[in-house]
Symmetry: C2
């Protein structure tokens, strides 16, 4: 979710210079390869007023051969207004091998539908449908569509407005409308969030750029641009190879002398943007034994009472547990269920799928865990396995796990629309804490069953898992089903936070 | 469009028997192949009350090995009502190699949102979005999703209700709600049409079955089922071959000993359902010279006046001409434009795309023909080339032209939503008339430029073109942009009908 993004990230001059030089060379190379391969690239820069769209567009352009791109302002000209909305975007869509950059994209209208005194929800849905159609049509035809959103905080925006306002040469740049965006920062952000939830698809991903530090923003934009172009080129080569193998030899369109691997980003963008969420987690949070004992009985009493109320009012609830190995999911779940009436809840431990489950869509088995009205389901590991273990261990293809973010969001939206509340926990510990717990498990005889070779193997892939977790937290934290990251280095703190979160979600539903 | 479907089609007993025997053998074979290939098949039967869903489901099942399918009623059980809407569909989704049939599908809720005194448009859009998500998720995972709609006319439905009502053993089958569907036939049909326009996608096609004659309906269902399964199996083989060629040898999942071609339908379903539209065109319609002269000046005057009014009121209009070679598009367009102010309209003759156009999406060049507010664009051939000449001549892939129906509908919805009216003409002549005109062109020296070798070559593919035209007319005649088929064996009749249609559409827009 937009509001979860870490905006404190920055780069110093030296880091910036070094990465910029590398990326400039790399993007130049990628642009030549894209031209040769006939890859059209369409880029939109969206973001807050004063977030630096102009600066970032300029910096991207400086890495490019000017003969290969065109830049357009999305705001309609007087002439544009005489034509249907989509004409100005369609006629400027890039030809094969060319790059089109839009200052503001085609999504602003959707945001505007919600960002007004009386939100126009019908107009919003229509606008999103048209955005999806535009992007899908171009993507199906082979265009790479990239959307950047430059994100800054409310305070930073105000500071920038004030700075512009103080200088009489730039004061005109800040309109009353701009100031209104700052006054109603949260409303605009929520409208953006809703738009993103409808329009972040495999055809056209959103890339969020923390933009308070301009150097960081530049490197983030360039890295993500390079990574996306590089991947699109690789997909082309793979597709052309497939086509060549099914067609008669020589009939495929495989671009010649194209070795996109050479141009692949040395540091993937994910390395830069990962930890956008996890980096903000304060793992020092803890509770004393006394505080814990008091809180535990307080919140367990609440949960007990509310479970009955939920049953009476027929409200269903799902609690999803994800987290690192040894993060304490089992103990946490026990503290949650111990006060409850066992007829009212089910706990589903999710292991590797069995033979019957493997014969179905990966979401199929989870539909069996959806609770009846008035009941609770607690899942120990969940459908998020698709974008965690299955992604990292290669149990599914990259297309499959990339598609899964949208599939999961759709599932969760359907559940919440039907009245099922979702609480999603990521139990977070750090690498050192995990090691300590693993070693303890091995040392204590009655804990040894808890630790396997596989746990140690997974641990070696900590970095890959961390990147996957961070992307998951970002892409699937939605307005209808947000994640709760539970600081779990201290088990007591984690248990109380989970209990309290569940109790609060219950209370929301039954007006307790 | 649903209302354009020819419901008079029927089969005699002998034809029925012969086709049924063939299809039974073929479907048995296909089912075994599908099981071996691990293809899951999900089928929904939707349709009018008393349209014969039970009968047709039974007849399909009789061709199948009962160990391979399950049948479910979509209406929720008491137990189902305690769970989210989608659960009952998801948990019953077929495993690999199995077939699930739903009596009524998952689309009824969307229809119900519109079929009520105060239509719930928001609920409708949400329901359609969820339908799209459900079908896309399963299709992406390899499930073949097939939706049949059994269509009968209002009179036929009433006749069936009355027959049921007269027999005291069956009278209970006709509810008040059923009678209401007959009383409000048009409203329910419009709600179905709106639902179909949102949910007919490449992931899950709608198959419309004229069902007044039960024998015809059975053969249509079985043929379309066989054709779809056969195609899905072929796609699998192709995909597996591609996968095998990119993976190491032996790692692909290509089903062994699978030769779907053997099982391919001898008579494709399209041969049965084609002409569902064109078969109803009365080509004997004509006008005398005198009637023609009077009508011509009347309607040309109207068009002249209204062109000015459209300009004043800033209403844009596009007139699209498609039709057989030598159907008279040129002369027809001349009669339309001759009364108009040339500053108000443009005529775009659409030929094969040039080099610049080929470097873009096929729809790109047409966005350049979209008229300014208050202006007219007249297109001599259109974006429908994608599903006509490009389809028949193989200038695009089957995936591309199949995808195009949705793309074109999306384009036309965007245009009409922006206020551009669309008039779409199919100028229809028969084979004999075309031959007569071709021969005349060759005989008359000053007409010889009009006829080329290509025209003769295209003529040889009349059947293929006819099938393509019929599917186009059906899939792209929408509530917002319906087709007008112009009976053009008589040029005078065709010119007046086109002029009158344009004049009437103009009048609708400007309250003339």
């Amino acid at each position: 979710m937009l509001k979860d993004l870490d905006l404190s990230v920055s780069l110093d001059k030296e880091q910036y210079k070094e990465r910029l030089d590398e990326l400039t060379i790399q993007i130049g190379q990628l642009q030549r390869q894209a031209r040769e391969a006939g890859l059209p690239i369409l880029v939109a820069f969206e973001g807050w007023e004063a977030s630096g769209k102009g600066t970032q567009i300029n910096r991207l352009l400086q890495t490019l051969d000017p003969r290969g791109y065109s830049v357009h302002v999305a705001n309609p000209s007087e002439e544009d207004k005489w034509y249907p909305y989509w004409k100005r975007f369609w006629v400027r869509a890039p030809a094969k091998g060319r790059i089109t950059v839009f200052d503001r994209g085609w999504c602003l209208e959707a945001i505007d539908c919600l960002y007004r005194e009386k939100p126009d929800e019908k107009g919003f849905e229509r606008a999103c449908r048209e955005i999806n159609a535009f992007e899908r049509q171009l993507a199906d035809d082979g265009t790479l569509v990239l959307k950047f959103f430059l994100h800054i905080g409310r305070k930073e925006q105000k500071k920038r407005f004030d700075a512009l306002g103080e200088n009489e040469n730039t004061a005109w740049k800040v309109s009353r409308e701009d100031r209104r965006q700052n006054d109603q920062y949260k409303q605009w952000r929520d409208a953006v969030q809703a738009m993103v939830e409808r329009t972040d698809t495999e055809s056209a991903r959103w890339h969020f750029v923390p933009s308070e530090d301009r150097r960081y923003a530049t490197i983030a934009v360039l890295s993500q641009f390079a990574e996306a172009v590089s991947r699109a080129l690789q997909d082309r080569v793979a597709a052309a190879a497939r086509a060549a193998s099914t067609k008669k030899a020589g009939q495929g369109d495989a671009p010649k002398d194209l070795a996109p691997d050479k141009g692949a980003a040395r540091t993937p963008a994910s390395e830069l943007t990962r930890n956008a969420i996890l980096s903000q987690v304060d793992l020092s949070l803890s509770l004393t034994k006394d505080d814990y004992a008091g809180s535990l009985s307080h919140w367990q009493d609440r949960v007990r009472d509310m479970e009955h109320a939920m049953y009476r009012e027929r409200v269903p609830l799902m609690v999803l547990y994800e987290g690192w190995d040894a993060a304490g999911k089992g103990g946490n779940i026990r503290r949650l269920t111990s006060p409850m009436d066992p007829r009212g809840y089910d706990v589903y431990p999710i292991a590797a799928p069995n033979e019957v489950e493997r014969a179905h869509h990966y979401l199929w088995r989870f539909w069996h865990t959806v609770p009846k009205a008035g009941h609770l389901s607690i899942l120990d590991r969940t459908w998020y396995g698709r974008v965690l273990v299955e992604r990292v261990e290669g149990f599914c293809t990259p297309e499959e796990w990339r598609r899964a973010y949208r599939e999961i969001n759709e599932l969760e939206e359907e559940l919440t629309e039907s009245g099922v509340s979702l609480v999603k926990f990521w139990l977070h510990i750090d690498r050192e804490e995990q090691l300590k717990r693993f070693e303890e498990r091995q040392a204590v005889p009655w804990k040894q069953w808890k630790i396997t070779e596989e746990d140690w193997r997974n641990r070696e892939k900590w970095d890959q898992y961390e990147a996957a977790v961070d992307e998951m937290l970002f892409r699937t934290s939605t307005s209808y089903a947000p994640w709760t990251v539970v600081e779990a280095n201290d088990k007591r703190y984690a248990r109380i936070k989970a209990l309290r979160t569940v109790a609060e979600r219950m209370a929301e539903r039954i007006d307790f």
